[in-house]
């Protein structure tokens, strides 16, 4: 479980995250939704440590991530997988080498064991016969799948996805959503998906955090969403505008 406690982030005098308190649960797909510029990406980047909060805490199983010693923080990072909006695949490496990279860095596996794991991860994301291709030779949807395979190559506890459906057609978006759902359930990991796609919410969202103008506007389960729309005009406007 990940908890955010009184999280604030300023960029100079701009208050981009305002006193955020939220919980993200294990074994479920937690969705951070909201309009562009609402603070979703900054929130996710602050949670994974790419941004430092101005004040407040990010607790991973009660460990204050940003106040951990450097080595402990690095060790915790090895339990985190992330799918970036632009995939962030290493462009000089092949698909196979991209997925192998975390194993090469942080496992004691032999070459054969690493290849076995790479092929397993690639088969989990339904990617076959692309091992020797470089990222520039594959489609956007395939890149996302390689990104997911790389994120789950090590036995992670937390998976963060920044706009996993951006730039993808609706059909491929559903494939990626289903993959994320299946991986979350199979490995029992805490998945945090930053999205503005309400189809994703309807399909795989279990716990939802709605961000609006840098604030956590609403938090609850998918079942509670319809009810919350009645009393929350901003949430209602966002949901209706998404369809």
């Amino acid at each position: 479980m990940i908890q955010l406690i009184d999280l604030n982030k300023f960029y100079e005098d701009k208050h981009v995250l305002q006193n955020i308190n939220a919980n993200f649960y294990s074994g479920v797909a937690n969705l951070v939704i909201g309009a562009s510029g609402g603070g979703k990406s900054v929130l996710v980047k602050t949670m994974v440590g790419l941004e430092t909060p101005t004040s407040g805490q990010v607790l991973f199983e009660e460990q204050d991530y940003h106040n951990l010693e450097y080595d402990k923080q690095q060790a915790l990072r090895r339990e985190i997988g992330m799918l970036f909006q632009g995939t962030a695949l290493f462009d000089s490496l092949t698909v196979e080498q991209n997925v192998e990279f975390p194993l090469l860095m942080f496992s004691e596996m032999s070459k054969e064991e690493r290849m076995e794991r790479v092929n397993l991860c690639l088969s989990k994301v339904n990617l076959h016969n692309a091992n020797q291709k470089v990222p520039s030779e594959i489609s956007g949807g395939m890149k996302k799948r390689v990104g997911i395979a790389r994120a789950i190559a090590l036995p992670i506890k937390y998976l963060f996805c920044d706009e996993p459906n951006s730039g993808l057609d609706p059909l491929t978006s559903r494939v990626i959503d289903n993959l994320l759902h299946d991986i979350t359930k199979e490995f029992g990991i805490t998945t945090i998906i930053n999205s503005h796609d309400m189809k994703t919410v309807k399909d795989i969202g279990e716990h939802i955090v709605f961000m609006h103008q840098g604030q956590k506007w609403w938090e609850g389960s998918k079942e509670e969403l319809s009810e919350a729309q009645k009393s929350n005009p901003e949430l209602d406007a966002f949901v209706k505008a998404s369809f």
């Binding site: 994974v48 440590g49 790419l50 923080q73 690095q74 060790a75 915790l76 990072r77 090895r78 985190i80 997988g81 992330m82 970036f84 909006q85 632009g86 962030a88 695949l89 290493f90 462009d91 975390p102 090469l104 860095m105 942080f106 963060f160």
Partner: protein, 252 residues
């Protein structure tokens, strides 16, 4: 103030560069790749620059001595002086400084744009999220490879500068080979080689570390990646010339 904050950021950057690499075998493979890229692939340009500069220095020095300056008649200057000037200036200045200014354009711009591109395409963020010290991971192999290979290129350059002068002397007939070689041998001071190597190590560190720093903190997109390369080369050239003066003052 801006300059001081840049220097401060550079010092903090260097602190992370020299943290122990996460995985030795990955580091070694990256180091050898970078050594090949910097050393072997820069060899042709270094050879050409050294041969041409050596020849030009010889021809120009000889022509200046041969022209009537009004101080002494040209016949009173021994032509061995040409070899002496080419030899000393090659070791002290042309080989380390000119070679490194050229390599700043080739290696420095390359490092800054490569790391800058990794930054804007979130590859550096990916290293960070994995728990890799991204500064050290992307910079240390390049800096170490530069510090190993650039001084070697400078040594090659010294030799070829003198060969270039020799070829020019032979082809133009402005002085005999004996005069040229005698001039070089008579002016040789072993301490100059120490100065050469000190300059080589310091300049190679400047080229690789400043370009890595510039690339690492790139923000924006493709345009800013290009700007990072240009900015890196400009700053490296200024730093090389400033340190050139400092080293000359301290060691000579």
């Amino acid at each position: 103030m801006n300059l001081f904050s840049e220097i401060g950021r550079y010092i903090i950057f260097m602190k992370y560069v020299f943290k122990r690499p996460e995985r030795g075998r990955v580091f070694w493979s990256m180091l050898t790749r970078e050594m090949n890229l910097m050393g072997i692939e820069s060899l042709v340009v270094v050879i050409l620059i050294a041969l041409i500069t050596g020849a030009v220095t010889t021809v120009q020095t000889a022509s200046q001595l041969a022209s009537d300056s009004g101080i002494l008649p040209p016949s009173l200057f021994p032509m061995e002086i040409v070899g002496s000037v080419v030899g000393s200036s090659s070791i002290l200045e042309i080989a380390p400084t000119i070679t490194c200014l050229v390599l700043a354009g080739k290696i420095g711009a390359n490092i800054a744009s490569e790391i800058g591109n990794m930054r804007v395409s979130e590859q550096i963020d990916a290293y960070e999220v994995m728990g890799i010290n991204s500064i050290g991971f992307v910079s240390l192999p390049k800096i170490l490879a530069g510090v190993i290979m650039i001084p070697c290129l400078i040594l090659v350059s010294v030799f070829l500068l003198m060969v270039g002068g020799l070829i020019a002397a032979k082809l133009t007939g402005i002085l005999t080979l004996d005069q040229y070689v005698t001039g070089i041998r008579s002016s040789f001071v072993p301490h100059y080689v120490n100065v050469l190597m000190v300059k080589g190590y310091i300049f190679s560190f400047i080229i690789t570390s400043m370009s890595a720093f510039q690339g690492y903190y790139t923000k924006g997109g493709a345009l800013e990646v290009g700007e990072a390369g240009t900015k890196a080369v400009t700053r490296i050239c200024v730093a090389i010339l400033a340190f050139d003066l400092i080293i000359a003052k301290l060691l000579l």
